[in-house]
């Protein structure tokens, strides 16, 4: 029998589905923890139906011996507790010839949308097995079965059960462990799966979500004040930060709305405290006026925008990369600022930390784009790196002699020392009206031009070093991408190169200001390029075209959410004949 994962012997993909209350998410989370305990890497995303609470749900995992940044094209295993509303997930859990479905025969036949001749169905009487154990639950039987198939050691599973259910008491732990063991001891004839070989001495790893990683980046970067308003899928950022900022001597304020939250962090940052807010599309829209004020008054701050399906209220619980336009261009007037995007879950930490540093040193707004698929997914990763240099805000010092402090003084690098309230002799009034060097409102053409130049040049002239983008591979074919699509792009490039189509992939971390010269250098020798992104309007593609940064004939692969962009789709697009009209 063909092993389904022979093409990617380093990874395995498994999905778990079931109706409300069947324990899909618990099983998935425990599986991921067991993956970690076993010394492997892994990724888990979730999906659920429209019910606020308690509807059907799916957990999608991919495990690997090396870091895993994206889902695969197909799933090797689907474990279904039941078939209620499972069709909702059919698109999200593509199977392939040789994939394995594990079902409880008591739950009925595999629905026609999933059944096919090429797919092997294994019967596992989850419910009846669970009944054999006091306090046993079918999902934990399933977990044991899955672990066995994936090659995860029983010990890892038992350890996870002990930790995960600690609060529920010893009895619960024991029952769960018994279920897992029962599942794990099931014997199967030859199976279409090659279990993964964990490394002998596993590296240090973290178990973290993208939203949590963004938090770590924020506090590492020095953020000590946050004001925000809850919104899916950004709320976890606030929920982690509220208790943890306190430990660092900072605080979080739940504001009455996003107009308040953005203006509150303008106030705190004016007060000298590095500040951040987190939101998603609708909240970002409401913040744009305030962000323009921060740009104009040169008040540093960071917005962590976790994108969801748009436009308008859109699809709150699903992912999309469609807020690039508003992040780049959503200001009235000319308002240069920074836009960054994390290229994977762990990178949410690096990119957010870097954004804090950059916003502080450049005294401007940094918008960090992440998305639901990064933010709410959990991953076993290598500990995220930190930026090489820890930039800080340039502060004004009390002058020795009486002289007029000029908050918006024109300097060579266009950065002016910022005075923090409490500093003697450097009193000023920050202003969102156009102003002269001192900060006094001015409607004169010359002041306007000087300050417009200042605000642009301080950002354009800065040396951002090497972190502006991630590049992998080489070759005349190139995949250009950003954010959560980067994982699929890198994997596609790698697989293409292995298949004899030399391909590089470039994922932009710094989206504004574009590093034109560096990007041009990086793209030298490229004859066939595509721009990959998860939105409908080809937002990155148009943006790069606007700045004449794409090789001639570059094609756009813009696929809106919520389905993730998969490596195979990118490969297909890359190798498709370039259409030349």
């Amino acid at each position: 029998m063909n092993k389904t994962n022979v093409n990617h012997p380093d990874t395995l993909s498994a999905a778990i589905t079931g109706s409300g209350g069947s324990g899909v998410v618990t099983a998935g989370q425990m599986l991921l923890k067991a993956v970690a305990a076993a010394g492997l890497f892994g990724l888990m995303t979730r999906s659920s139906g429209p019910q606020i609470r308690g509807g059907e749900s799916a957990a999608m995992l991919r495990l690997g011996v090396k870091p895993v940044n994206n889902l695969d094209d197909k799933f090797d295993i689907l474990l279904a507790f039941d078939w209620l509303n499972v069709t909702r997930f059919v698109d999200e859990i593509p199977l392939q010839p040789g994939s394995l479905i594990i079902r409880d025969p008591d739950a009925g036949e595999v629905p026609p949308e999933l059944a096919s001749d090429d797919i092997q169905v294994l019967d596992a009487p989850l419910k009846s097995l669970a009944k054999t154990i006091d306090g046993g639950r079918p999902n934990m039987i399933g977990l044991g079965i899955l672990a066995k198939l994936l090659g995860l050691p029983e010990a890892a599973l038992r350890q996870v059960a002990a930790e995960h259910l600690e609060k529920k008491g010893e009895k619960a732990v024991e029952a769960t462990q018994a279920c897992i063991s029962l599942g794990h001891t099931q014997e199967w004839s030859e199976l279409p799966i090659s279990p993964l070989e964990p490394p002998h001495t596993p590296p240090v790893r973290w178990n973290i979500s993208g939203n949590e990683a963004s938090c770590m980046g924020a506090v590492r970067g020095g953020v000590r004040f946050v004001a925000a308003y809850p919104i899916t899928p950004a709320s976890e950022i606030l929920e982690w930060l509220a208790p943890n900022l306190e430990k660092l001597g900072g605080s979080l304020l739940q504001a009455e709305d996003e107009l308040a939250s953005v203006n509150m962090i303008i106030g705190s940052s004016f007060g000298g405290v590095p500040s951040l807010t987190a939101t998603s599309g609708p909240g970002l829209s409401l913040m744009m006026e305030g962000l323009g004020l921060a740009v104009t008054s040169e008040t540093p701050l960071v917005v962590s925008n976790v994108m969801r399906g748009g436009p308008s209220t859109g699809i709150p619980t699903k992912s999309e990369q469609s807020d690039l336009n508003i992040a780049l261009y959503g200001f009235h007037g000319d308002a240069p600022h920074l836009v960054l995007a994390a290229t994977n879950i762990g990178d949410c930490a690096f990119t957010t930390q870097w954004a804090v540093y950059l916003s502080e040193v450049l005294q401007t707004v940094a918008i960090v784009l992440s998305d639901q698929s990064q933010g709410q997914a959990r991953s076993i990763i290598e500990p995220p790196a930190e930026p090489k240099e820890a930039y800080q805000r340039l502060l004004a010092k009390s002058p020795e002699e009486e002289n007029h402090y000029q908050r918006y003084a024109l300097t060579e690098d266009c950065l002016s020392p910022m005075s923090i309230p409490g500093t003697e002799g450097c009193i000023y009034t920050a202003d969102g009206l156009e102003h002269n060097e001192r900060g006094t409102p001015s409607s004169m053409t010359e002041d306007h031009l000087l300050q417009l130049d200042k605000r642009r040049n301080k950002i354009d002239g800065f040396d951002y070093g090497e972190a502006w983008a991630d590049l992998q591979g080489e070759g005349e074919n190139c995949i250009i991408t950003w954010g959560s699509s980067s994982g699929a792009a890198f994997e596609a490039a790698q697989r293409l190169s292995q298949a004899g189509v030399p391909t590089r992939a470039l994922a932009l971390r710094l989206l504004a200001p574009l590093q034109k010269q560096k990007q041009q250098n990086t793209l030298q020798g490229v004859s066939n390029a595509i721009v990959v992104e998860q939105n409908h309007g080809a937002q990155l593609y148009h943006y790069l075209n606007a700045n004449q940064l794409l090789p001639p004939g570059t094609r756009s692969m813009a696929q809106p959410g919520p389905l993730p962009i998969r490596p195979g789709d990118v490969m297909a697009m890359m190798t498709q004949e370039a259409d030349n009209d």
Binding site: A36, A37, V204, R205, W206, I208, E212, M216, V219, R220, F225, A227, N244, E246, K247, L248, G249, G250, S251, L252, L253, A255, E256, L259, A260, S261, V262, N263, M264, I265, I266, G267, S268, S269, F270, G271, G272, V273, S275, G290, G292, L293, S297, I380, P383, S419, P421, G422, E424, C426, I427, Y428, T429, A430, D431, G432, L433, G439, T440, P441
Partner: protein, 278 residues
């Protein structure tokens, strides 16, 4: 007010900047600026420890005319900026200021929630019952039959907003009403407002000579607030109802703990990484 160090040598004029106001001759806002600078001098606050925050409007131009730190933000968001500043910098004396349009129309939600949140901020609203800056439209405090704006040719037709009553219902802990035509009393009121621990709301009648020339008559209409000043919101609501809306003076004061996060650092960010380590 925060117990910051004080600095005795300064006079009222030392709290005024050298920037010439854009205000029309006779605008009530001049007197508010004067009263404010006198209050700051009276309190002998160190200039660098005071921050004035405002939105947009003629009145909101105030910060640049004072010699303390200032933030001239966008329309309607003064209280949000002030709240964030105070939350992050409890050591500062934070004063927010603006107009009736800025505070009660576009800024209404922040007004509600700032009163509730009771942070230690003083909020001065210069009410001229009009949008002065945009050349004379009705504001929430404009009377329903004022028909001089082409935008509301029959008058706004809506009962006018009662700032003190709303502040009271929303939980403000200090409410006073002043008049720019009586700057000494106003000075005293601002002093008490700043001294009050919690959110102090000072509602000032400040005539717009340009678009509401009839407000010159306010001089004759204002009078001492004659109702009982209690810490009981229901009694005060009754008093406000009995008053004709033109009584000036302290209206309400109560003591409630101000909302103010202030935590001592107990660890470094690296200590937080443990949670994630496998």
């Amino acid at each position: 007010m925060t117990e910051t160090q004080t600095q005795p040598a300064l006079k009222a004029k030392d709290y005024k900047s050298d920037i010439k106001p854009v205000w029309c001759p006779g605008s009530g806002h001049f007197a508010v600026l004067s009263a404010l600078s006198k209050a700051l001098a009276h309190l002998a606050l160190k200039r660098e420890d005071v921050a004035m925050v405002s939105g947009i409007g003629c009145s909101s131009r105030l910060p640049a005319y004072t010699e303390v730190y200032g933030f001239h933000g966008v329309h309607g968001r003064a209280l949000a900026v002030a709240g964030g500043l105070k939350a992050a910098r409890p050591d500062l004396t934070v004063i927010a200021a603006g107009g009736d349009g800025d505070g009660f129309s576009i800024g209404g939600n922040h007004f509600l929630h700032a009163c509730r949140r009771n942070m230690d901020i003083t909020y001065i609203v210069m009410d001229n019952e009009v949008y002065g800056m945009t050349k004379g439209q009705a504001s929430p405090t404009t009377s329903p039959d004022w028909s001089a704006s082409k935008l509301t040719p029959h008058g706004p037709g809506v009962p006018s907003f009662n700032p003190a009553a709303i502040a009271l219902a929303s939980g403000a802990t200090f409410i006073a009403r002043g008049f720019s035509g009586d700057p000494n009393k106003l000075t005293q009121m601002i002093v008490e407002g700043i001294q009050h621990k919690g959110f102090s709301f000072i509602h000032v009648f400040s005539p717009c000579t340009t678009f509401r020339p009839e407000q010159k008559g306010w001089k004759k209409q204002v009078h001492e607030y004659a109702e009982e000043v209690t810490a009981n919101p229901v009694k005060t609501a009754q008093g406000l109802q009995a008053d004709d809306g033109m009584g000036t003076g302290l209206i309400y004061r109560t003591e409630l703990p101000p909302w103010q996060p202030a935590y001592d650092a107990i660890c470094e960010p690296s200590a937080l990484e443990k949670e994630f380590q496998v």
